[in-house]
Amino acid sequence: MDPDTDIGGVQHRFPVTNQSAIVRARSSDHAVRQRAFDTILTSYWKPVYKYVRLKWQANNEDAKDLTQAFFANAFEKNHFADYDAGKASFQTFLRTCLDGFVANERKKGKRLKRGGELEHFQLDFVNAENEFASHAPDLTPEDYFHREWVRWMFSLAVEALRERSKKEGWGIRFQLFERYDLADDDAATLSYASLGQEFGLDATTVNNYLAAARRDFRRVVIEKLREITATEEEFRNEARSLLGVEVK
C-alpha cells in the first residue's frame, strides 16, 4: 500500500496515547514528573505569557519573568498534583493558579527568580510578543487565554504533523494540507484542481492526500488532548472546549 495514503496502522485504528501528563505530574519519580511538567509547559507557556501581558498589564520583560517563574514554582512545589478534575478543567485550574501567583508576586514586589528547572527550555518569547503585539485582542482576558490556548494547541498539532510527515516521507501530503487548510492568502479561490496543477497531481489524488493529512491532523489533535487531560470527563470537556462541540 502507498505509504503516503495509508495511515493509522492495522485496521486504521490509532494507538491510545500514553498516560496523561496531569496524572504523571503526581508521580513520586522526579524524572517522570519532569517529563510530565515539560509536556504541560509546552502546552501552556504561550497562552500564559499572553494572558499575563493582557490581564496583568505586564511589560514583555515582566511577562517573560512571570511566565518562567510561575512554571518553575509550580514544578518546584508540585502544584499541578493538586488538580482535581471533578472541580474544573485543567485550563481553568492553571489560570486560577497563575492569577494567584502573579497577585502574590506583585504584592511582594521583589525581583523574580527565573526558573532553574526551565533553563533547558528554549521558549520563543520574541515570537510570542510579536503575536501579542500584532494581533490586538478584543476579548476578556479569560476568553483571550482560552482562544490563545486553542490556537497554540492547533499550532503544536500542525508542527507535530509536519515532523511526522517529514519522518514518514509524506512531504507532499503535508504541503497540500498547509497550502489548502492553513494558508490564508487564497483560501477562498483555491480549488483541488488548481492545487493539482500547482503540484503536478490530478484532483482525485489531491483529494486523497488532503483526506489523509486531515485524518492524521485529527489524530494528532486527539493525542495532544489526551496528553494533557487526566480523566475521560476532562478529555470530553477539553475536547468540547478545543473543538467547540457540545457534549451532554
Binding site: R151, R214, R218, E246
Partner: protein, 333 residues
C-alpha cells in the same frame, strides 16, 4: 511556528470534528442533525447503493463511556426487530477511533413537526398508540428507551411511526424471546457499570421524576411510561409538559384523555401504567369510545359516551320513530 488566523482556526476546528468516512464504504452527503451524544449524517452506502443515516460521536475519542454506549446502542437496536423501531444496518469505527452505526434513513417528519401540521387529536392519538406499541415491544424484550420525546419519533412518508435514538437505552433483564441470546447476559454484565447511580441521562421535560433524580437503579418500564405520558401531553396541548393538567391548557381534551395522560405522568411510578402496552390499550379504548381504566365515569358520562359511539344507530332509531309517528298521525287523519 506560523501564526494561525482566527478564520483558519475555525476551519481547523471543523476539520478536527468532521466525520471522515474515507476508509468505509460510506460517502458523506450532509449533516442531518446534531444531538447530545452524536451527530447524524446522511450518507451513501456505495456497496448496496442506498442512502443511510449514520450516527457518530461528536467528540473524537479513542476509549471511554461514550464509545461503549454507542456500540451498546447499536447492539440493542439491532436486536429489536419491529416496524416501529429504526433498524440498524451496520456498526463500525472511523479512522480516528470514533464509533458509528448506519441505520435506515427515514424520510418524513419528526413528531413535533408532524403535530404542527396535523391538528386532529384523533389522528395524533393513533400515531401515539403506534409509538406505545413500539415501546411496548422493546419493554417485552427487557429494554427501556429512557429518552422518549417528540424529537425522537419520526412519522414516515406513508404515515408509519418510528422510534429513534436508543442512545441511553437500558437493558433491564434477560427475557425469554426469539431475540434473546447469550449476548443479553453479557450486556447485562456490561451495563452495571455503564450508567452510574446519580447520573442523569434523558431530556428534562420528558423524563420521569426518578430519572431526573438520577435514580438509575429505580428505572423500569414505568419510567418510559412517564415519558410517553409527556409525549401525549404534548400531542394534546401542543405544549411541553408542565404542572397544568392537559384539559386546563386545551379545553377540547376529554376527561378520559386527560386522566390517561395524568395517570401515565404520575409522580409515583407505582401509580402509572405498569407497561407501555397497558397505556396503548387505554388509548385504543379511548379511540373506540370505550371506558378507559384511568377514568371512572358517572352515569351521564356513560350515556354521553355511548351516545357518541352509537350516534348513527340513535339517528336511525330516531328517524324510524319520527316516521312511525308521522304515519300514525297521517293514517288517523
Amino acid at each position: 511556528m506560523k501564526w494561525i488566523s482566527d478564520a483558519r482556526l475555525d476551519h481547523l476546528r471543523e476539520l478536527a470534528i468532521s466525520a471522515d468516512f474515507g476508509a468505509t464504504k460510506y460517502r458523506l452527503i450532509n449533516e442531518l442533525a446534531s444531538g447530545g451524544m452524536g451527530t447524524v449524517y446522511l450518507a451513501d452506502d456505495t456497496e448496496l447503493n442506498r442512502q443511510v443515516a449514520i450516527k457518530i460521536l461528536n467528540t473524537p475519542e479513542l476509549t471511554g463511556d461514550l464509545k461503549r454506549r454507542m456500540v451498546r446502542e447499536a447492539q440493542i437496536i439491532a436486536r429489536l426487530e419491529h416496524p416501529g423501531i429504526v433498524p440498524v444496518h451496520d456498526v463500525g469505527s472511523l479512522p480516528d477511533g470514533r464509533v458509528f452505526y448506519a441505520m435506515k434513513y427515514v424520510r418524513g417528519s419528526r413528531l413535533d413537526d408532524y403535530a404542527a401540521k396535523n391538528e386532529s387529536i384523533r389522528d395524533r392519538l393513533r400515531k401515539f398508540q403506534a409509538v406505545c406499541d413500539a415501546v411496548a415491544f422493546a419493554h417485552a424484550h427487557g429494554v427501556i428507551h429512557r429518552d422518549l420525546k417528540p424529537q425522537n419519533i419520526m412519522i414516515g412518508s406513508f404515515g408509519e411511526v418510528l422510534v429513534l435514538d436508543w442512545g441511553v437505552a437500558k437493558i433491564l433483564r434477560r427475557r425469554e424471546s426469539p431475540v434473546a441470546s447469550e449476548a443479553d447476559t453479557l450486556m447485562l454484565n456490561n451495563n452495571q457499570a455503564d450508567t452510574s447511580h446519580g447520573t442523569v441521562v434523558g431530556t428534562r421535560n420528558y423524563m420521569s421524576p426518578e430519572q431526573a433524580r438520577g435514580e438509575i437503579n429505580q428505572l423500569d418500564e414505568r419510567s418510559d411510561v412517564y415519558s410517553l405520558g409527556a409525549v401525549l401531553y404534548f400531542l394534546l396541548t401542543d405544549q411541553a409538559p408542565s404542572s397544568a393538567r392537559p384539559r386546563a391548557v386545551n379545553p377540547k381534551v376529554t376527561k378520559a384523555a386527560d386522566a390517561i395522560c395524568l395517570k401515565a405522568m404520575s409522580q409515583e411510578s407505582a401509580a402509572r401504567y405498569a407497561t407501555a402496552a397497558e397505556l396503548s390499550r387505554d388509548i385504543g379504548k379511548l379511540l373506540d369510545a370505550e371506558p378507559v381504566s384511568a377514568y371512572r365515569e358517572n352515569v351521564l358520562e356513560k350515556v354521553g359516551r355511548w351516545a357518541g359511539k352509537n350516534r348513527f344507530l340513535i339517528l336511525l332509531v330516531l328517524a324510524y320513530l319520527v316516521m312511525r309517528i308521522f304515519f300514525a298521525f297521517t293514517s288517523r287523519s
